[in-house]
Amino acid sequence: MAITEEPPLILELESGETKPSTGAFARPTYAKGWRAWVFTVDHKKIGIMYGAVAMFWFLWGGIEALLIRTQLLTPNGTVLTAEQYNQIFTMHGTTMVFLVIMPLAAAFANYIVPLQIGARDVAFPRMNALGLWIFVFGGIFLNLSWFLGGGPDGGWFAYAPNTSVTFSPGAGMDFYAMGLQIAGIASLVGAINLIVTIINMRAPGMTLLRMPVFTWMILVVQFLLLFALPVITVALVLLSLDRTFDANFFNVGMGADPLLWQHLFWIFGHPEVYILILPSFGIVSETLPVFSRKPLFGYSVIVISGAAIGFMGWGVWAHHMFVSGLGPVSVAAFSATTMFIAVPTGVKILNWIATMWGGKITFTVPMMFSISLVSMFTIGGLSGVMHSVAPADTQQTDTYFIVAHFHYVLFGGALMGLFAGMYYWWPKAFGYKLNETLGKWHFWIVLVGFNLTFGPMHILGLQGMARRHSRYGPEDGFDFWNLMVSIGAFVILIGMIIFAINIVKTWLGYKAGTIEQSPADPWDGRTLEWSIPSPTPEHNFDYVPVVTDLDDFWHKKYQKDENGKLRKVADGNAIAQLGDQHPHLPSPSYWPIVLASGLPLIALGLIYTLWLTGIGLLVLVAAIYGWSLEPHTDPDVGHGHGDDHDDHDEPDGDHSENLIDSPKDESTEEAPVG
């Protein structure tokens, strides 16, 4: 039984007629236009918006990267001042981690997870919208700093006491501290929502070990978020108190130990690495079997190793601090734990290769990105093992060797996987495939550019080039490889431009009717999202499927004949649901975006003038009040999502049940709910 928002109070009128209570405001009913997006609580629209906003920040973070590379193109670069350079590398990291990869993963989690578990929405649709809008406002707030005196300049890791007012007198670090607190609330809200959704709203028969690996990895990631975000939040609150109210948490003069920040930051920061990479591990665990036409090799091992990474990820944080001045016992212990976290990761890699082994591989664009994850991430993982050797790390840390390492992990791993996911699920989300030819150009140019950018960084690091230096001298001998790296960065840009062209071109083609509509099951998929039409209908499932197997949809298409040989018994597109039912769905709501808009006001007020904080708090309280009094659905509209069909009759007496804000409850007639 799904956990749902409270059913509405039914008022008995004197006439004997029943009428649900209405809140302070009626719920919005926009079916089309921008307001249909802004007030939506539909997990699919929210997922798409997460993706679109993340891609906007990806563009911005990419521009920041190119500025860095232009500055370092030659020795003693003069494109940026040291001050600008420090702000830009700080925001490049912060943007890519918090505003690109995390929300891209959230985009897939929001869009795909309910479809993979056979649900009509997430457990708390309005909270889902709240998470999106807090993230949007958090990102805007963080980048407002550019227009208000300069960006944060303490690095994304923001080591104390360099972030104190004494050493970073501008407002940049305030924007960093408050902006990340706001973005953190978004992730926390999303994490709780998805955990409840995955645990409670799976289709009947979908036991945990019949759950698709992508959903599994998202579940692990949400638990990591749930426990990691409070840690960074504590650190950021302490930093904000130091900066805004002259507290002394990181003031060495008052007896503080700056290593406190490092411990807090990395206790969050290391699980964060797995928060960034596991969604992509989930994505390729979906695509590799589909395009190899074989089941995932060792499903349970992959799931268990993913969960194991989730646990072990908490015991390795101090490997970021091997030269920070921990004693030899700590260094040795964290050195060992770091080595052994390579085991579950390595097992995954080999299982993926075994999945492809013996298969019939079609090299679609999503498959190519997936294979590049397997190989590029391996390089990043192996250089990670080199860092786990603490004495070697004393030479490698804070050099470009580390920069190379984590870009192989986060670009070669996380981002390649997310691109695989985009090409793979694009037809499900938008109803048409991205162009495969342009996609292949995109893939190959990015792959070459990526290796040209980050491969030579290994060499630069071994030559002793330190990170976060706004310049290097000609006497250092770094010229040649820096030139290559900068060229590579612009090659990546070309690849990304091709991706943008692909999106626009296919969209225009689809609008013009020259690109065909994707069928429900364009890739011969294995999981439930392929059993419903493309693009996904508003209500996802006409009826909630009953699951009997892992890869249930595939088993509906392929069964053993009398000789025990697997045969195709049905075409996926033929047996897919039609998407022609019109169950009730939760209504849109004004309040999530209103509530979210209070947070940046509060934060701005804390930096500049407290009366703004007062206004923000008023907005926040008013929104919570309005939210709590909101009717669960507007009875006069009937269909919250505004699908304006009149053919769907509803017996009047049935209304109260349909008002419940849970999609699952409306499906009770069609399928039992487990």
Binding site: P75, N76, T78, A82, N86, G155, P161, N162, F167, D257, K294, F297, G298, V301, V323, S324, G325, P328, A332, S335, M339, F340, A342, G346, V347, L350, G358, G359, K360, I361, F363, V374, S375, T378, L382, M386, V389, P391, T394, Q395, T397, T399, L462, Q463, G464, A466, R468, H469, R471, Y472, G473, P474, E475, D476, G477, F478, D479, F480, W481, Y558
Partner: protein, 401 residues
């Protein structure tokens, strides 16, 4: 930004000079010996040497000189060798899969490949093999972690990082008072494991001279122990590697390793106090220094007001200039103090005194870094101050060759 352009020019000059060639030559002899001893790593050594020989800089962690750096290099090559072996295996497997198991044009689309759901034996094997490899690596790593933390037999030197330069203090008689305070260049005796006590006066920095040892953070309020040593005399270069604010990129450091006798001579010369100069220009410079510079800088014996962290700076300390001329560089080792012909680099020194923030990014209005005197001192006054500075201390014991 004229200062920066000049910096480019001066750096180009330095490149021509081919820094520390001498060191590298002796170092190559050392290295050859080292590789022979570790024949197992020859292949990798060749590979890494090829990579590193593409362009040889002056930091060169891959050409270790000090014993600690060599020990680290050995274990790093071991881990690199293992990583490359595994990487080649995985790469070969991926390529094999791509070639061998692709769909062929004639394949029946309804014909499924064999549906294998897993193989417990195989999975157990490729879980255990990495475990064994990593156990081997851990066994090799852990003792060396403890070795690096041991104390050495040599003298102890206090290393203090601040925005954006390093200070080195020597307490020769162990009375708790520093007897020698110098900056930018740490002078050490050859053949001894010198103990460093690393700390910071403001934010976190990291002390790193790659050819001598790995890095160690300088954290305010904490003293971190670390060692360096060199078996041969020479100048070794280093960088600050923990992001420390605006001029993090311009906080360099040098280690000068001297033979025991030279080290002794250097120590004695550093103990000498300064006195009022006799030359006319230098005397005028001395007076100007007393007006404009002593709120931050100390010159032992004449201007000591800014000692003990009293400098008017966020970090409380500016370089002690008593023996300025005995160093080879200034301003966080960003500029050479001597030209190629061993004459004093008056042009850069004068420009630095005139307008330091134009030469090196800093934030003097926030008491981070030296202020500009461009509006305060006129040309002749600058010349006088530079004349005075040239009287401070003797020649460096070793020049970059």
């Amino acid at each position: 930004m004229s200062g920066w352009h000049k910096r480019v020019e001066s750096a180009k000059l330095l490149k021509k000079r081919k820094f520390a060639n001498e060191v590298h030559d002796t170092d190559m002899v050392q290295n050859r010996f080292f590789y022979n001893r570790n024949l197992r790593f020859t292949f990798l050594g060749t590979l890494l040497l090829f990579i590193s020989s593409c362009a040889s800089g002056r930091l060169d962690p891959l050409k270790p000189v000090g014993q600690n750096a060599k020990d680290i290099d050995g274990i790093m090559r071991l881990s690199a060798w293992m990583a490359i072996a595994v990487g080649l295996f995985v790469g070969a497997a991926v390529i094999a899969v791509i070639i061998k198991f692709r769909v062929r044009p004639g394949d029946d689309p309804d014909e499924l490949p064999e549906q294998i759901h897993g193989n417990k034996k195989a999975e157990l094997t490729w879980t255990l093999i990495p475990v064994v490899m990593l156990l081997f690596l851990a066994v090799a790593t852990i003792p060396s972690v403890f070795d690096l933390h041991d104390k050495g037999d040599g003298p102890t030197i206090q290393v203090t990082g601040q925005q954006w330069w390093w200070q080195f203090s020597y307490d020769l008689d162990e009375d708790g008072q520093s007897d020698i305070i110098t900056s930018n260049e740490i002078v050490i005796p050859v053949g001894q494991e010198v103990n460093l006590e690393i700390t910071s006066n403001d934010v976190i920095h990291s002390f790193w001279i790659p050819q001598l040892n790995g890095k160690k953070d300088a954290v305010p309020g904490r003293v971190h122990h670390w060692r360096i040593s060199s078996p041969v005399p020479g100048i070794f270069y280093g960088e600050c590697t923990e992001f420390c604010g605006l001029s993090h990129a311009n906080m360099q450091v040098r280690a000068v390793a001297l033979e025991a006798a030279d080290y002794k001579i250097w120590q004695e010369s550093q103990l000498a106090k300064s006195s009022i100069p006799t030359g006319e220009a230098a005397k005028r410079g001395y007076d100007l220094f007393g007006v404009h510079c002593i709120s931050c800088h100390v010159i032992n014996g004449v201007y000591e007001g800014a000692a003990d962290g009293n400098a008017n700076l966020a970090s409380g300390v500016a370089p002690n200039l008593t023996h300025l001329m005995s160093r080879t560089s200034f301003a966080g080792s960003l500029f050479e103090l001597y030209n190629e012909d061993q004459s004093v680099n008056i042009a850069d020194l004068r420009e630095w005194v005139r307008n330091a923030p134009g030469q090196k990014p800093s934030r003097p209005e926030n008491r981070q870094g030296m202020m500009s005197f461009a509006e305060i001192l006129n040309g002749p006054e600058l010349d006088d101050i530079v004349s005075y500075l040239q009287t401070l201390g003797g020649k460096p014991p070793l020049m970059p060759s």
